[in-house]
């Protein structure tokens, strides 16, 4: 709340202050929206309302019943969509979670006569526990492993329903009668009709809200780039775990609603085909699109089961062919392809103007000039890192003073990036230790180190194309350890006003690099690690980058560790230079003395100092 107020305050100041032109520029240029999520949510709610309510209003019992089931499946597909795209998890077992919710509720309500509310609660707990079965491996592994775990669960589930017949009634299934749910209360609508229409709408809204939240952004970052996520203080395993649990609860509720809608459960209703329907619906409808699951279920489920009902034995073939055709011909799915047309027509690159920040930076602490202090921000003591027989970092001792720009140079394979990965916690020392701000960080995971105000960039900038340019920056704010400083809140407000509806996909390499730097700045990292930042930058971009590094160090007092091959750049900006060779440090000191050091002379053959 305090942050939001600060941001609003910052915006007001910006409008009056020197950076007014940037904010006004954004207002003057009316840009099309970057994301169509919100309009899609509204269209989705309208579509569900029409299909959910109109059949009752006109009194068509067949379509009432059909769309009850369709809307339940849509809700399940919405959670599949969330799991698939926002958390990056391919689950082939969502039908199991729906089945657990339905079956356990049926057992307690239909077989043992518990009140429906109690039975439904037990059913929900069962779905939750089923979700745990998927989520626990997700803490450790990812990618295709979970696809196989969930697919096996989808195959095992109906087998268990059959063989545990003492509890499940086996192949006979469980009939359930709930007349009160089907009784008309007004305008031909029954409580059930209202519930099964409201729930997918709620699911859609929940998906949208999660996506807009910090948690949602963190999930998507973790899904796209686990390493980048870890350096932003995110634990990808935990994100996957949370996503599976959310999807399990949502899908479990679908199962509970399934019971009054179908009035019967049997093992055949929850075979692997059901899970495929949800998965394929998301793919065909459009992965990640809010409307994707709705359109997907209509095509994948309604088409073969209702429109082509006489061909019912062909439905698996139809699912498979539709999905394969989608992947081959239009991988974005139906809604995604339409969305792509919209974006292509609406969004144009802004070339060199797409991402400039100089004007914003001028307002930051312009008056003060900081100098490197004498205390130590980062210290490595006898650090050794091995990969098998290769010693990448060999008993390195390194001290980085607070506020200095520390250049780390050396040939390819000399251990610079390995050292950087150790410092950011992405890999662990085999021997020795290192301290950040005087605290031992040797055994800390990357996300913990990230929360010690350390930020880094990668050799290939990590840009998330599904985020707007502003959201790409905002993941830095999400990772901030404390509350925002007033300067940064003002900067954030300006950046939001300028870049909220811009795409990050069309940015040049240099601009992408700048996005990462700004991300680390918004994270308010006090120690910033740059991994070969100048690679691929043009001459003028290099000059700009050098200015930016100086700005970070001198104006903002940040400690910078710079791994770089461009020796001109390093000599230009560094206060201290350390030279590595085959994992060892061969020279370290101020630029002038390092340049004279006989141990490093051979590096400069053909270079500026030859």
């Amino acid at each position: 709340m305090a942050v939001a107020q600060a941001a609003r305050g910052g915006q007001a100041q910006a409008a009056h202050g020197g950076q007014a032109q940037a904010a006004n520029g954004a207002a003057a240029r009316k840009r099309p929206r970057f994301s169509s999520d919100l309009p899609q949510v509204w269209i989705g709610i309208a579509l569900i309302a029409i299909t959910g309510f109109v059949p009752s209003l006109v009194g068509n019992a067949y379509w009432v019943h059909t769309f009850q089931l369709v809307n339940i499946y849509i809700a399940a597909a919405i959670f599949q969509n969330f799991l698939f795209v926002d958390a990056g998890q391919k689950s082939f077992g969502q039908g199991v979670l729906l089945g657990l919710g339905a079956y356990v509720t049926a057992i307690f309500f239909g077989l043992h006569g518990y009140p429906f509310a109690v039975a439904a609660l037990v059913g929900l707990v069962a779905a939750f526990l089923g979700g745990l079965l998927f989520a626990l491996p997700a803490l450790r592994v990812q990618y295709f492993h979970l696809g196989f775990v969930t697919l096996s669960a989808a195959i095992v589930f109906p087998q268990l329903l059959m063989s545990l017949d003492r509890w499940t009634n086996g192949i006979n299934g469980i009939p359930v009668s709930m007349p009160s749910m089907h009784k008309e209360i007004a305008l031909g609508l029954s409580p059930l009709t209202i519930l099964v229409a409201l729930f997918p709408m709620a699911a859609l809204v929940v998906h949208y809200m999660i996506r807009r939240s910090t948690l949602g952004r963190r999930m998507r970052v973790a899904a796209v780039s686990p390493e980048a996520a870890r350096t932003l203080g995110i634990r990808p395993g935990v994100m996957r775990f949370i996503a599976f649990i959310i999807a399990a609860i949502g899908t479990g509720i679908c199962g509970i609603l399934y019971l009054p809608a179908v009035s019967f459960v049997s093992p055949q209703g929850f075979n692997v085909e059901l899970s495929f329907v949800f998965f394929f619906a998301v793919v065909v409808g459009g992965r990640g699109q809010m409307l994707g699951p709705i359109v997907g279920i209509w095509v994948v489920f309604i088409l073969p089961n209702i429109v082509l009902a006489q061909l019912v034995e062909y439905r698996l073939l139809i699912y498979g062919l539709l999905t394969l055709a989608t992947v081959m011909a239009f991988p974005d799915g139906i809604v995604g392809t339409i969305e792509r047309w919209r974006v292509r027509r609406a969004v144009t690159g802004r070339g060199e103007e797409a991402f400039r920040v100089d004007a914003f930076l001028d307002g930051l602490r312009g008056e003060r000039e900081a100098a490197p202090g004498s205390d130590i921000a980062v210290e490595v003591r006898g650090g050794t890192k091995k990969f098998g027989a290769v010693v990448a970092v060999d008993e390195v001792d390194l001290k980085v003073r607070r506020g200095e720009v520390h250049g780390l140079i050396g040939a390819n394979g000399s251990g610079k990036t390995s050292l950087l990965n150790v410092l950011s916690g992405l890999s662990r020392l085999d021997a020795g230790s290192f301290l950040i701000n005087g605290r031992d960080a040797t055994r800390l995971a990357a996300d913990r180190i990230a929360r010690m105000n350390l930020g880094r960039t990668f050799q290939t900038p990590r840009i998330f194309p599904q985020f707007s340019l502003w959201e790409n920056l905002k993941v830095g704010i999400d990772a901030r350890a404390g509350t925002a400083s007033p300067d940064m809140a003002r900067l954030a407000a300006q950046l939001e006003a300028e870049f909220a509806e811009d795409s990050a996909e069309l940015l040049s390499h240099g601009q992408r690099r700048l996005v990462e730097v700004m991300r680390a700045m918004l994270k308010e990292a006090t120690i910033v690690l740059f991994d070969e930042p100048a690679a691929g930058l043009s001459q003028s971009e290099r000059a700009n980058f050098a200015r930016l590094v100086r700005f970070l160090s001198r104006r903002m007092g940040k400690t910078v560790i710079l791994v770089e091959h461009d020796l001109d750049l390093v000599w230009d900006v560094a206060d201290t230079i350390t030279v590595m060779e085959q994992g060892r440090i061969v020279a370290s000191g101020d630029p002038a003395s390092v340049a004279r050091d006989p141990a490093v002379q051979h590096m400069f053959v053909g270079g500026r100092l030859a």
Binding site: R140, V141, V149, I155, F280, L316, L321, T323, M328
Partner: protein, 292 residues
Amino acid sequence: MLSEIVIIVVRGIAIGSIFAMIAMSFNIVHGATGILNFAQGSMLVLGGFAAFFLANGVGLGWWLAMLVVSGLLVAALLAFQGWITLLPLRSSVEQDSWIISTVAVSVIVGAVLLITQGPFAYTVQGMAPPFRILGVRTPGAYALAIGCMLFWFVALRFFLRKTFIGLAISALSQDFDAARAAGLPVRRLQLIAFAISGLMVGTAGFLVAPVISVSSDAGLRYVLNGFVAAVVGGIGSNLGTLIGGPLVGVVTMLTAYRVGGAYQDLASLLVLVAILMLRPQGLFGRVSARRV
């Protein structure tokens, strides 16, 4: 009692050999492309159908010829599948569309078999005569399964280490970009890897047809057990599959005898979850250096 142990161990190892062959066929494609083919089980079942339609109750010469034909047919089908699976990967930013397309192919193969052959399990006569181990009569196909696994293990080892194409495929699995930069015909090598995986499961399915369930819905179960075998052994390690496959086979057979046949797949699922929680790199897998 002794006979039960013999049945569990011998048949478990033999069924496990089938899982091991699926796991090895995973490995060669995974090494070359990063893809794990979810349709591999359906392809094995196709080999079984080939045995039913081409070689049920025929003479040895014809049977051997049909074995080769079955292997080549499935190899051709897998090369085609590999081609369509790799097509979208050429341009798309997203590199995991293969999970969707291989699952879709698996569903399509199962659906076509269901429509054309019905939901029944087909019985295939064995070519190899039954034999006795410690007094227990055992169908010859079990011995063929174990022999086939060992044959493919040795053949793959020779192929990947001694032939030019095999070495090139190994190079792909070690450093894809370097292999491409060195001028290797990457796409062609990947299709060859797919074809070899087809040759493996096509012949394996043909040989073990008398003792597996040759039915339209069996593919998914075999691919899952094959995956468990691959994970237990460590994905990428063919030596690991020689342990992982029989281990999973014995566990499922033990479950079938002690708990009930309906719980076999549950047992493999639990093995899979346990190994992923405790040792995700598998018994012989290596933790690879991280690339940032």
